[in-house]
Each structure stands twice: as structure tokens, then as C-alpha cells.
């Protein structure tokens, strides 16, 4: 209970049953409802895995200095960049959705063919290059091509 800022869902649930006053609970857990900053999240992820950002960036096919700017929070990513990072981290479908959520981007959606190909590639741990080949094969926009100007 010491650190309210990193509540897991289970801890939040436990709190819900323990706390009798809703107002009190709201004030206590307000911090945990806010999403962490994207740069903080990916930096923490690297620390947790004991892997330097450099290695993750190498696997994303992103320009190196741009990649570091994402980790330091000086730039914010587009949706495609978030997906490239998901490949860099070797994430599965669920972890990638979480990453998109934290970056406040639209989630991978079953009605979007390109998203489905990406889900398939993430699930089978394709490298980013293999995934680009698969996209190309189906005549779909490659990762990095689907960016809005943001």
C-alpha cells in the first residue's frame, strides 16, 4: 500500500473491497488511473528486462537518434512507431495493445486487414523485416508508411 502510483489491477480490486468510503478511495487511487508517460513506460520496460534501449531500437528499424528521443520523451511516437517498438520489444498481441493504449493510439482492430497481419506477425514473433515482407506481399502499407502527420 506504500506506493499508490503503481497499483496493479489486483491491488486495485483488493482496495475496492477494503475501502468503505468511495471518496476516500477515489482520492487514494487517482494516481493509478492516469496512464504513465509513454517514455517512462518503455524506459521501465527496458530496465525490467535488463536490456539497454539501444538494442531495442536496433530491432525496430527506426533511425537511432529518433529512437533515443522516444525513450527520453523528447519526441512522441506515431501509431506506426509504437508498433515498430512493439516489434523491437518482441511483444505479443496483448503487450502491444497495452503499449498502444499507453501511447493513446487506436488499438489493433480485427476489421483492419493490416492490423490483422500485424497481430499475426507479432504472435509468431516475426522480425520487423519479415513483417514488412508480409505486408508487402499483401499489398498493404508498410510500417512507417501509415503515419498521420503528428
Amino acid at each position: 500500500m506504500a506506493d499508490q502510483s503503481n497499483l496493479t489491477t489486483e491491488e486495485l480490486l483488493r482496495l475496492l473491497f477494503m475501502e468503505s468510503s468511495l471518496d476516500h478511495l477515489m482520492s487514494r487511487s487517482a494516481d493509478s488511473v492516469q496512464l504513465p508517460a509513454f517514455s517512462d513506460y518503455i524506459t521501465a520496460l527496458c530496465r525490467q528486462r535488463g536490456e539497454p534501449p539501444e538494442r531495442v531500437i536496433n530491432r525496430t528499424n527506426l533511425e537511432r537518434s529518433y529512437g533515443h528521443q522516444l525513450f527520453s520523451g523528447r519526441r512522441s511516437p506515431s501509431r506506426d512507431t509504437v508498433l515498430q517498438l512493439a516489434f523491437g520489444f518482441g511483444m505479443d498481441y496483448e503487450a502491444a495493445q497495452e503499449l498502444l493504449k499507453i501511447a493513446r493510439k487506436s488499438l489493433l482492430h480485427p476489421r483492419v486487414k493490416r492490423d490483422m497481419v500485424l497481430v499475426f506477425c507479432l504472435h509468431h514473433h516475426y522480425s520487423i523485416i519479415d513483417c514488412q515482407i508480409a505486408l508487402e506481399q499483401y499489398g498493404l502499407p508498410l510500417l512507417g508508411e501509415g503515419n498521420r502527420n503528428e
Binding site: 501509431r79 493510439k105 487506436s106 488499438l107 482492430h109 476489421r111 483492419v112 486487414k113 493490416r114 492490423d115 490483422m116 497481419v117 499475426f120 509468431h124 508480409a134 506481399q137 499483401y138 498493404l140 502499407p141 501509415g146 498521420r148 502527420n149
Partner: protein, 462 residues
């Protein structure tokens, strides 16, 4: 690897069964699903022909019972404040309407970044009124019905664009009430819940809620937040329960907004002041002598340089005292002024008798007398208060003014003569500029004396 290929083929097969119009899929690549409510999906797409981004709304015809032959919502619209219509596609299953993707920041994101000024808010709402006027004045009026911060885009060029024509509909005068509820809770007016058919005044209601949200941060009325009155009135009229009580059209809202805009109010007030001033000038010219007789005052503050900042005022006063009296008493203008400095000023600068300045009334309530200049028995080392210095400055020139305190009944322990002096100083402008209420600096002491000099000198020359 074959398994994987099979997997990808599976996607292909599943996707073809979704039943999106084939020509839509041929023209556009789907990039993201922006929202996926039942029967209505919104996609960010990219045109294969020119790579332009666009937004496609795909309506499931089984859910929404749409006639593909009918014009798509807002199909023939052409206004800089609306996304351009690109095309319409249909299959047995879907109707897809494609419009330009609008680059910019959603108003909902903008309000979270930094606080918007009242003027910015009014400007955005005025531009929205222009868009709504255009929509509502079509031969078949188009009602947007989902005006909210998420659907208002501020473009990099400074424009305002109203997006998401999901539920926009043309108004059919014969229909009595809407059967389907669309819209966003909080922004939707009562009739959108089925009280009556929605018309242009539906959008006016939502515009009023939007204005309230931008000004107060809440879509609901909050009695604790005080709003600028003219804007509050506009919100109240926009959001009246009965559509008849609302503004009749968006043009009327814009007119009211422009009139309520703080800047235009200022201009209008300025104009009013100018008008009154002109009228006064005429009246005064005619009855100048009468006016002069009625309002005559020997003192006016024209002699005091007013368009200076505080440091400049003090510097000006110190220079004035030096020029006029050749004194170096105020050479350290930042030091706190003491009673001793005040006494030396009276003796050295104004040539008062030393005994008269130092004598004081030994007991009882201090009062004005020809026996002592300051009735208080203060030490030289005490700090001089502003009110005391003002008293001295006025008394130097006209002891009768501070002696006339008979109308003051009380006392609060404060010598009434100094209160009369301060009142007089405020009326004549002696206290213009850098004066703290209590302890003052040597420079401020010089300022009060210099101002008094000028005021009395200008009164003599009248």
C-alpha cells in the same frame, strides 16, 4: 513456414467475408480503426491513388437500415470548415462514406494543453457559428447533432473544422420525432432524446453546452463558477429547454458572441465614453463659466508628471528638490525615511524654526496648534510614516487645511489632521505614484514634498 502462410491466407479469407465494398478496398488502404461502434465503424484510410489520408465511415446496412441511393449525410457540402466529401461506396452489407482527413488538434486536446482565453473561446465559437450557418441554410438543412470538443478540429492555419458527420441528417419537416437516438450525452438537447424532432436549434443547444464547457471545464451548469455575464446569458439562451426560447439560428448566436466579446465590449464602452466625452465638451463649452464656478478647485494634478514609473517618479522628485532647494538630504533615496529626516527637511529646506518643529504637545489628544508643527513627541530615529509626511507637506504650504478637522468626530488614535491631509493629498494627486502606506523611503518623502510643492505652486498661478 507453411503454417504461417496459411495463417495469413486465413486473414485474407476472413477479411473478404466482411463484405466491405470491393471498390472501396481497391481505392483505399485501411490504416486504423478510429471507432468501432455497433453498425458504424470509422477508419483512417489512405488513398492508393495519391497517398492522401481520409476518414471512412462504414455503416452496416443490416443494423442501420440505410438506403444506399439516398445522398450520404452531408454529401454535397463545400465549406472550408467541413471535411471535403471524397466518395461513397456500397456493397450488400456496407455503405462507406469517405471524407478528407482533417489535420490539426481536436478542441478536446487543446483545452487540456493550456488554458484558452475568453477571447480565443469566443473566436472558436464564432467560427463554428459560420459552419453551422452554412449547414443550416442548405436547401435541405443539415443538422450535425453531435457538436462536442472531440469533433471540432483547430487547423494549423488557424481555422476551425467540424468533423464527424456520422449522424448528421437532413431535416424532414414532415417527420414528428426522431426515432433513433444519436448524439453525445451532456451535449445533446432534450428533444434529441425524443421529445420532438430535432432541427437547427439542436445544434444551437450543443453549441451552448460547448461554450460552457470551454469556459468552465464542465458541461453542466456550476453555480459556483462565475462567468462573464454576457457570455452566461448566451449560454442560458442557447441551452433553453424549449427550442423556441433558443436563438433562432447560428447567425444570431454569432452576433451575440461578437457583442459579448470582452474586446468588443471594451471598444463599445470606449465608444460610449468618447460619445459622452464629446457631449460633455459641448455642454461644457456652452456653460463653461457655470461649470467652472460649480466645480472650481484651486488644485489640480497637472503639475505632477503622471506618465512615469515609480522609480522615475522618485528620481524626478529627488532631482526637483535638489534643483529648487539645492539640498542633498535625499541623496540616498532608498534609505528608510526617519522622523529626523522629516524634521531636517522642514528646517533646512522650508526654513521653519527648529524649536517649532521639535516642540510637541506633552499630554492629551494631539491637536493642531501654532505652538508645535507636529503634535507628536517622536524621536528623530523613528521611521517616518507616509501619513505623517503628507501631513507635514500639506501643512508647510497651508496649515489651515490640516487645522480644519472639526468634522472628524472619532478618534482611532490617529491624529485627525493627518487624515485630513491624506484625503486632501489623494484628491489633488500629491499621492500619485510610489507611496507605500506605512514606512516610506527618503526618495518617497522627497516625492511627497515635491508633489505638494507643484500642486500648491500651480494653484497660485491659476
Amino acid at each position: 513456414m507453411n503454417d504461417r502462410k496459411d495463417g495469413l491466407h486465413l486473414i485474407e479469407a476472413a477479411f473478404s467475408q466482411y463484405g466491405y465494398p470491393p471498390d472501396f478496398l481497391a481505392d483505399y488502404d485501411q490504416l486504423e480503426c478510429l471507432s468501432g461502434r455497433r453498425g458504424r465503424e470509422t477508419f483512417l484510410v489512405r488513398a492508393r491513388a495519391d497517398g492522401a489520408l481520409a476518414v471512412a465511415k462504414c455503416y452496416d446496412r443490416a443494423v442501420l437500415d440505410l438506403d444506399p441511393a439516398a445522398p450520404a449525410p452531408a454529401e454535397g457540402l463545400d465549406h472550408p470548415g467541413l471535411p471535403r466529401f471524397r466518395g461513397k461506396y456500397h456493397s450488400d452489407r456496407y455503405l462507406c462514406v469517405v471524407r478528407d482527413y482533417v489535420e490539426g488538434t481536436a478542441l478536446s486536446d487543446r483545452v487540456r494543453e493550456t488554458a484558452m482565453t475568453q477571447e480565443e473561446i469566443v473566436a472558436v465559437c464564432c467560427k463554428l457559428c459560420d459552419v453551422l450557418s452554412y449547414l443550416h441554410s442548405r436547401p435541405q438543412p443539415v443538422i450535425h447533432r453531435d457538436i462536442k470538443p472531440e469533433n471540432v478540429i483547430l487547423t494549423p492555419a488557424g481555422g476551425v473544422c467540424l468533423i464527424d458527420f456520422d449522424i448528421a441528417r437532413t431535416f424532414k419537416p414532415e417527420a414528428e420525432a426522431d426515432t433513433l437516438f444519436f448524439g453525445t450525452k451532456g451535449y445533446a438537447p432534450p428533444e434529441q432524446y425524443g421529445f420532438a424532432q430535432t432541427d437547427a436549434r439542436t445544434d444551437i443547444y450543443s453549441l451552448g453546452v460547448l461554450l460552457r464547457y470551454l469556459l468552465t471545464g464542465s458541461v453542466r451548469e456550476n453555480k459556483n463558477i462565475r462567468l462573464y455575464r454576457p457570455l452566461e446569458k448566451i449560454i442560458a439562451r442557447c441551452t433553453a429547454f424549449a427550442p423556441e426560447k433558443r436563438y433562432p439560428n447560428a447567425g444570431a448566436v454569432k452576433k451575440a458572441l461578437l457583442a459579448a466579446n470582452p474586446r468588443s465590449q471594451l471598444l463599445r464602452k470606449g465608444g460610449l465614453v468618447l460619445g459622452i466625452a464629446a457631449l460633455c465638451a459641448v455642454v461644457m463649452l456652452a456653460g463653461w463659466k457655470v461649470y467652472q464656478a460649480a466645480t472650481y478647485s484651486p488644485f489640480h494634478s497637472d503639475a505632477i508628471p503622471a506618465v512615469l514609473n515609480d522609480e522615475e517618479r522618485v528620481a524626478d522628485a529627488v532631482a526637483y528638490m535638489k534643483d529648487k532647494y539645492g539640498t542633498d538630504l535625499f541623496d540616498s533615496p532608498d534609505d528608510l525615511a526617519t522622523v529626523g529626516l522629516l524634521r531636517r527637511t522642514l528646517i533646512e529646506v522650508y526654513g521653519l524654526d527648529r524649536d517649532y518643529v521639535y516642540a510637541f504637545q506633552p499630554d492629551g489628544l494631539p491637536q493642531e496648534s501654532g505652538d508645535y508643527f507636529m503634535p507628536w513627541g517622536w524621536e528623530d530615529s523613528q521611521n517616518a510614516r507616509r501619513d505623517t509626511v503628507v501631513y507635514a507637506a500639506v501643512k508647510v504650504h497651508d496649515p489651515a487645511i490640516v487645522a480644519d478637522w472639526s468634522s472628524l468626530k472619532d478618534d482611532t488614535g490617529e491624529y485627525p489632521g493627518s487624515r485630513v491631509a491624506v484625503e486632501f493629498a489623494q484628491e489633488t494627486g500629491i499621492l500619485t505614484g510610489a507611496n507605500r502606506p506605512y514606512d516610506i523611503t527618503a526618495g518617497e518623502l522627497a516625492l511627497i514634498f515635491a508633489n505638494a510643492d507643484r500642486v500648491f505652486a500651480s494653484a497660485e498661478t491659476e
